[in-house]
């Protein structure tokens, strides 16, 4: 037997001996733990309480999900209803519905809430029967005459500042199908002022003021 093997076996034996000592020491240490009665009453009471909380939480979650699902599927909560002024005014079947319902009147016409519109090949949105101040109405701005003015709700509106049109505008039925049009929304903001928003086309709203007289291209 070589010296290395002898030393290795001695070291291994020493380690095993130490581990055995540790084993007996840990057992002796564990024996010092005072044995107390099983806290079964406390465990059961707390366990029942936590189970009740779990059941209650589950029920609350189900109720919340049900409520949320109900709200999301409600007709007035659909995305089209949330942008009620624009879409309702776009709908040719009920052009005045959004203007007359309290919900539509209460809708904020903030430009940020308006969705980008596309030209409808079926034709421009029907003009509103009655214009409510602060409400956005879908409007396709016909640019045949350029951009000096627009006609909305029977009135002519001049631009407060010149407008630089974005590139790529086209007619209702596609490129070169007719005079270009810019789909957007008109909001009457005061007795003689209005605003034209074209989300997705114009970065800023176009400020308008009521023209003293009607105009035409020619």
């Amino acid at each position: 037997m070589s010296g290395y093997e002898h030393d290795g076996r001695q070291s291994e034996g020493h380690q095993l001996h130490q581990q055995e000592l540790l084993r007996s020491g840990l057992r002796a240490l564990a024996d010092r733990q005072e044995q107390v009665s099983v806290p079964i009453g406390a465990v059961l009471a707390e366990g029942r309480r936590q189970r009740r909380i779990r059941v209650f939480g589950l029920a609350a979650a189900v109720a919340a999900c049900t409520l949320a699902a109900g709200l999301l599927t409600h007709p007035l909560s659909t995305p089209s209803a949330r942008t009620a002024p624009a879409v309702a005014a776009t709908a040719s079947t009920r052009p005045s519905a959004a203007a007359t319902t309290p919900r539509a009147a209460a809708t904020t016409p903030a430009a940020a809430a308006l969705a980008k519109r596309q030209l409808d090949p079926a034709g421009p949105p029907a003009p509103p029967a009655a214009v409510r101040q602060g409400q956005a109405y879908a409007f396709d701005w016909n640019l045949q005459c350029g951009t000096p003015f627009l006609v909305f709700a029977g009135r002519t509106w001049d631009l407060v500042a010149p407008l630089h049109l974005p590139a790529g505008l086209h007619g209702r039925h596609g490129v070169r199908s007719g005079p270009p049009e810019l789909p957007g929304y008109v909001t009457v903001t005061g007795p003689g002022s209005a605003r034209f928003d074209a989300p997705g086309y114009l970065a800023q709203p176009v400020l308008l003021r009521a023209a003293p007289a009607a105009r035409s291209c020619v």
Binding site: Q15, Q18, Q19, L21, L22, R23, S24, G25, L26, R27, A28, L29, A30, D31, R32, Q33, E34, Q35, V36, V38, P39, I40, A42, V43, L44, E46, G47, Q50, R51
Partner: protein
């Protein structure tokens, strides 16, 4: 057919009475404190109660209780790590005149255990008190066998530096 809730509770009560003493002893070694050991054992029993009856695949309820105890202890460590300060000297006064044989040796051992990082302490308790193999400890702790081996080695090394593992040698003659 599932047992009724009252049957399940009766089973649990019987189970708790069976495993609680062993859980308490292991908890004492894991925590180093008798009062905390009682809290730990109770918290582990509570967790077992909350999942009691969900699984019929408990081959070894005692092993499950041990695993739950270790897991709860690990959770406490993670949650209250800032409260745990491994210390060289717990401040407990020595009582050399204690009549119990080897009492001061055990105090040294307890101090050395308390001075270990909790992960090493857990591994040593599982390996040398619960007599689990490296593979069993690795499975229980959810770590690799290499981790268990290295923690064991480091734990033993640190303990050797703090306590002479000579207790019991005299008693064994």
């Amino acid at each position: 057919m599932r047992d009724s809730p009252s049957d399940r509770e009766a089973e649990f009560i019987s189970f708790a009475a069976h495993v609680h003493p062993a859980m308490l002893r292991t908890a004492r070694l894991l925590t180093g404190d008798p009062d905390t050991a009682q809290d730990l054992a109770q918290a582990a029993l509570l967790r077992i109660y909350l999942s009691w009856g969900r699984s019929n695949a408990w081959d070894n309820p005692s092993a499950y209780a041990r695993k739950t105890l270790v897991n709860v202890h690990a959770t406490w460590r993670r949650r209250f790590w800032h409260r745990e300060v491994p210390h060289e000297d717990p401040g407990e006064p020595l009582r050399p005149d204690d009549p119990a044989q080897g009492w001061s040796d055990l105090v040294d051992l307890e101090r050395a255990l308390a001075a270990l990082p909790a992960a090493q302490r857990t591994v040593l308790v599982l390996r040398f008190y619960e007599d689990l193999s490296v593979a069993e400890v690795a499975q229980l702790l959810g770590c690799s066998e290499g981790t268990v081996k290295s923690r064991t080695s480091r734990g033993l090394e640190r303990m050797r530096g703090q306590v002479e593992l000579s207790y019991g040698a005299g008693r064994r003659g």
